[in-house]
Amino acid sequence: MMVDLGKYAGDVFAAYAITLTALAGLVLWSYAQAKRAKSKLASLEAEAKDAS
């Protein structure tokens, strides 16, 4: 299922590669931040519970 992009193949591939890489990076970064924040808050809440 390969399309013939002719003489502009490099331009089209470059545009898609940049976009997909940037979007994937943004999604993965947001996911990693969310996971870190969730576990940090969980451990702090557990500590606060123990202290009280």
Partner: protein, 248 residues
């Protein structure tokens, strides 16, 4: 239930947690279908050749860059008027997404411009206003990071957001305001509804725009939830420090 109760942090965490899986699912599904459809199953344009396929990423990214700033503008106004922390944090959460969308729009536009206009860049009204919008996103993010007090940061970034809205508006209507430059008019004018894009290109483009919009919603919800958790974590850390100081 009062509308503003949705902005209560606990209520927000509850409804956004339920909505989030659906937002991600519909965003990724519509994006995947739109991009595969546009890339593999649409013909070349008689003038632009295969570069027309860049439309499925360039136009939605540019649209979301402007809409991200619009959303930040509304959230900043809500912060000013009602002092809801969720709205300030939602604006903060949206900024990196808007920046990435702006960079995608500029990069794909440059790549598209080279074979069509013979240059990657021109000091055209729309391109220039987009570049300025990009700097506003960077400045907005930097300002949030530079200030320790989150309330002061929310105040100052909201002012910056209101000022930057002029450029967000300019980047949307630059082609109409200054009828000059290389960039063509908008492909999908909302006001008139007169499309300049044939149906064969418009259908996957519309789906890609929907996909980018849903991805933005999913990302903003995810990142706002992260900001709220970090805010609560900072409060707990401060409480722990106070307890330690009292015990010494």
């Amino acid at each position: 239930m009062n509308f503003w109760q949705f902005a209560n942090p606990t209520v927000f965490m509850s409804w956004s947690g339920k909505l989030l899986p659906w937002a991600w699912l519909t965003a990724l599904a519509s994006l995947a279908v739109a991009l595969v459809w546009g890339f593999f199953f649409t013909p070349d344009d008689f003038r632009m050749g295969s570069t027309v396929k860049i439309i499925y990423i360039h136009v939605p990214a540019a649209m979301m860059a402007i809409n991200a700033w619009l959303m930040m503008f509304v959230a900043s106004l809500i912060w000013f008027i009602r002092r809801h922390h969720v709205s300030a944090l939602a604006a903060k959460a949206a900024a990196p997404i808007g920046l990435v969308m702006t960079l995608i729009a500029i990069a794909t536009g440059a790549i598209w411009g080279k074979p069509m206009w013979g240059t990657y860049w021109a000091w055209d009204p729309r391109l220039t206003s987009f570049l300025i919008l990009c700097f506003f996103f960077v400045g907005y993010i930097a300002l949030w990071e530079a200030l320790e007090s989150s309330d002061v940061a929310a105040d100052l970034t909201s002012v910056l957001c209101l000022v930057g809205s002029v450029f967000a508006l300019l980047s949307r209507y630059a082609v109409q305001f200054w009828n000059q430059g290389l960039h063509q008019g908008t492909s999908v004018p909302v006001a008139t509804g007169e499309r300049t894009v044939d149906d064969v290109f418009f259908a996957p483009l519309a789906l890609a725009m929907l996909g980018f919009g849903l991805l933005f919603i999913a990302l903003v919800l995810t990142r706002t939830r992260t900001e709220l958790r970090l805010r609560r974590a900072r409060a707990l850390e401060a409480r722990q420090r106070m307890r330690l100081e009292q015990s010494v």
